[in-house]
């Protein structure tokens, strides 16, 4: 199978990759670049653990080919905090115990970051609608919703 040379701008850094056609963005991140913050869950676009931002919009990285995204800007969980400083959203997840096992958390944070950027003052219903594609089997969701709400009062996604 032929491979494709592509360029991705990942968390502001340009990366050149050689990827087979059938390699998803998820596997390019995890297996080629060793960026394992993005999680592999259902690989069917239902659980949201693999959520990253492509040109600022959240997508399921398990359902996008790396080769399709040549030249695009990707933001992953590794790109949220800067110099060890958490975003208000990350801090709210920590402060309000919105994390238990933590496997869904990177996807939750990426989807919620995108939500707060497009809607800085969401209602509880806005949050629920925006987070339909992120499953958590531990928390029962309420603390996640509370944390996103709290972050919206503390300066949003940033």
């Amino acid at each position: 199978m032929a491979k494709h040379t592509i360029t991705l701008i990942i968390n502001g850094q340009t990366e050149e990759l050689l990827v087979p056609s059938n390699m998803t963005l998820l596997h390019a991140l995890r297996d080629q670049l060793g960026m394992t913050g993005t999680k592999n869950g259902c690989e069917a676009g239902e659980c949201g653990a693999c959520t990253v931002l492509v040109d600022g919009e959240p997508v399921n990285s398990c359902l996008a080919l790396a080769v399709e995204l040549d030249g695009r800007e990707i933001t992953t969980i590794e790109g949220l905090s800067s110099n060890g400083k958490l975003t208000p959203l990350q801090q709210a997840f920590a402060d309000l115990n919105a994390v238990q096992c933590g496997y869904c958390t990177p996807g939750m944070l990426m989807a919620a970051t995108a939500l707060l950027r497009r809607n800085p003052e969401p209602t509880s219903e806005d949050i629920q609608k925006a987070m339909v594609g992120n499953l958590c089997r531990c928390t029962g969701y309420q603390r996640i919703i509370d944390a996103i709400m709290e972050a919206s009062h503390q300066g949003g996604a940033q």
């Binding site: 199978m1 032929a2 494709h4 087979p20 056609s21 059938n22 998803t24 596997h27 592999n40 869950g41 259902c42 690989e43 069917a44 676009g45 239902e46 949201g48 959520t51 492509v54 919009e57 959240p58 997508v59 399921n60 398990c62 359902l63 996008a64 080919l65 080769v67 399709e68 989807a111 995108a114 939500l115 629920q128 609608k129 925006a130 339909v132 594609g133 992120n134």
Partner: protein, 295 residues
């Protein structure tokens, strides 16, 4: 170790022009599939563990991601327009709100950044959420082939579950909708196993608008999914509504008429009899809603 086996092998090709598409279709035949959002295609390929030898990415062809609207010519939506782009478009929100309502029920927000209107229509799933809304706005599909372009109504395009009238050398270029009648109002009601994020057990789109030439003073259009081999309108029920001064009883009778026309099969999501009763309930709910606005 992968949680799932990943995508089967294939060769990715990016099409730049329609000519590229026709050449690749001719060359690769059944070993080629067209790729837009991939949200259904990739899941199917993973589940089956096999797929075509070639995927031809057509979403970057000229016009495929364009939306245009003017009151004279109506709405044109490129086949590869993502559902979030559709539902976020001010003119679609203003004039075709049922399309937005339906789009917002598909899967989840992340998925809708990739899932396309054209993909939803070409998949021809009986439960596709965009289908009832596209039917009530009387959408037409524009298909391109080496001989030119042809236009089909949606009931001509869908010929069965997963089956369309697309020829082997043809692809969907765009979907067009005429400007809706003045003061049209509508809604999309969907029943899934959960409140959000699931496939439709039944979905009902309603459009209604004032029409003083009818005894009802209102014309109704009703589109229904998930309860027949393809999504469908119910013209006899729409006619019954137009021909009778509207009362609550007439609305309920119409909803029962829609229930009688529906022809669901038993499936993993619901029994047939349940789906039929939910057709009645959702049609009634939708009719009440639009009538309350227009009466």
């Amino acid at each position: 170790m992968l949680a799932r086996p990943g995508l089967p092998d294939f060769e990715y090709i990016k099409a730049e022009t329609s000519q590229d598409v026709f050449e690749q279709m001719k060359d690769k035949g059944d070993d080629l599939k067209l790729l837009m959002g991939g949200t259904d295609l990739f899941v199917q390929m993973r589940d089956r563990g096999e797929g075509p030898g070639f995927l031809l990415d057509v979403k970057n062809l000229p016009g495929m991601q364009e939306i245009s609207f003017d009151k004279k010519n109506g709405l044109k939506i490129g086949a590869a327009v993502a559902l979030n782009s559709l539902s976020g478009h001010p003119n679609i929100q203003k004039y075709y709100s049922v399309l937005c309502q339906a789009a917002d029920t598909v899967g989840n927000y992340q998925l809708r950044n990739r899932a396309t209107l054209g993909g939803n229509i070409c998949n021809a799933s009986p439960s596709a959420d965009m289908s009832p809304a596209a039917l009530v706005y009387e959408g037409k599909v524009f298909l391109e082939n080496p001989r030119g372009e042809r236009e089909l109504s949606l009931d001509q395009f869908w010929i069965g579950p997963g089956k369309t009238a697309l020829e082997k050398d043809e692809f969907l270029k765009r979907i067009q909708f005429p400007t809706p009648p003045d003061k049209a109002v509508g809604c999309y009601h969907k029943l899934g196993r959960s409140k959000m994020g699931d496939l439709a057990i039944v979905g009902v789109a309603l459009l209604a608008y004032p029409d003083s030439t009818t005894p009802a003073g209102i014309q109704f259009r009703i589109g229904i999914n998930s309860t027949a081999p393809t999504a469908y309108r119910v013209p006899s029920v729409e006619e019954f509504l137009a021909q009778n001064p509207i009362t609550d009883e007439i609305l309920y009778k119409a909803a029962e008429g829609a229930m009688d026309i529906s022809a669901p099969i038993e499936d993993q999501r619901a029994t047939a009899i349940y789906q039929k009763k939910m057709v009645r309930n959702l049609v009634y709910k939708g009719l009440r809603e639009v009538w309350e606005i227009l009466k």
